[in-house]
Subunit: 242 residues, 2 copies
Amino acid sequence: MSLATDTTDQPTLYKRIRADIEKRILTGEWPPGHRIPFEHELVARYGCSRMTVNKALSELAQADLIERRRRAGSFVRRPQHQSAVLKIADIRAEITALGRGYGYELIGRKLRAATAADRDRLGVKKAGKVVAITCRHSADNVPFAVEDRLIDLASVPDAATADFSREPPGSWLLHHVPWTEAEHTISAIVADDRTAEALDIAVGAPCLVIDRYTWRSARTITAVRLLYPGDSHRLVARFKGG
Amino acid sequence: MSLATDTTDQPTLYKRIRADIEKRILTGEWPPGHRIPFEHELVARYGCSRMTVNKALSELAQADLIERRRRAGSFVRRPQHQSAVLKIADIRAEITALGRGYGYELIGRKLRAATAADRDRLGVKKAGKVVAITCRHSADNVPFAVEDRLIDLASVPDAATADFSREPPGSWLLHHVPWTEAEHTISAIVADDRTAEALDIAVGAPCLVIDRYTWRSARTITAVRLLYPGDSHRLVARFKGG
DNA sequence: TTGACTTATATGTCTAGACATATAATCGTG
DNA sequence: CACGATTATATGTCTAGACATATAAGTCAA
């Protein structure tokens, strides 16, 4: 076992150590459960101080490639099949990235006191005002997705006066709400009359649905439902880690 | 600005520093673009060495919460809305995690020379043998998902003799292929006759589709299509960084 | 055999320095 | 003013130590 064979002069030593180990894991040479050389062994092999080796191993641990156990050593982790990175781009960015012309159209906008259904959807208890927005995104003048959004004015007061006739609410919020958490739920439905008309598809055609709930510091900001024609649109998720 | 106010005795200092900064970012107190105090300022504030501060900041940089620029300082990064962690659990684990009884049923298994369609689906050029498997997963004896899988025997020769009548091919592969990359594509369709029967739903009902392509070192291993009843099943993705 | 105690050891964290390096800011010159 | 050279500075990496701490493994008694 010659760990330090790779002599491509990488910028720094700890990165080379990290890359060497990562390579062995990814090629399967060190399978899940395999014990990685102890820090003191790597120190001897690379002729460096323990902190340098420690930094390489810590980063691998942070990336969930290895697991470190006191007294026992460091071990290759089992691949985590269940976790993938799903890229859900901002719709405008997504469409322009495809080299197609982005179109936006505000269908409806209402400012109202929150109904019971609104409060349920936003997950808030107290009554308050909300903005309800319906709009459509299109690519090269072909309907791409319809959006049905609710914004809690208690969390985002500025939304009451914002002009959503030109700018999509998603973009507007992105620039006004600095940091959030969110939850996406993906499901499938068949198009009802209203959806079919908005997306210019047949009634009964499949639709991909993304429900997104966004909040900040445990405070709900917005709930949005996006409907895509199910046979045309695709969400792609790529990941590493078998 | 009193950075070190939080005196909850966290296990270690660098973690406390990291948590303190993370909190300010997540609450929006330090919005995107904001310059974080210099290392030497944090050293003075926390009364520790620079390596301790550096470790905290390095981890925040690795997590893409901040960006570090030589000579300039460290800055809060803009949230990356488009990236979410989508949990797609192993079906068996998913069902048992719900506290429901897992059931598995092999519907069909064929070993054949790859047809043109097979090669296309697996993304391989050369002819070779493949195993085609159709099976069904159920929760408390209710159909949960149907699986339609193709395994490339050139990559996984053992699959030719594996017994898939008891163990789902997904689980089997998980234990035989140490590390892979994969790509998921999510879409929606309406159930055709065969699908409707397998899932015990009506023809024309919505279905959520996950196509998963798995490979290892640029070599395709398996292609699988999972069909879920679209109105019952939901994929949930949560993320931070909105 | 089992459970409680002890010990050895690998990792976890930290220090007080050092030099390297990219680059923002400044200074000088045409 | 524009542009190139210089300088100051914040981060990047690294060292040779130190003590803390969890725990695998061994020891011993009931």
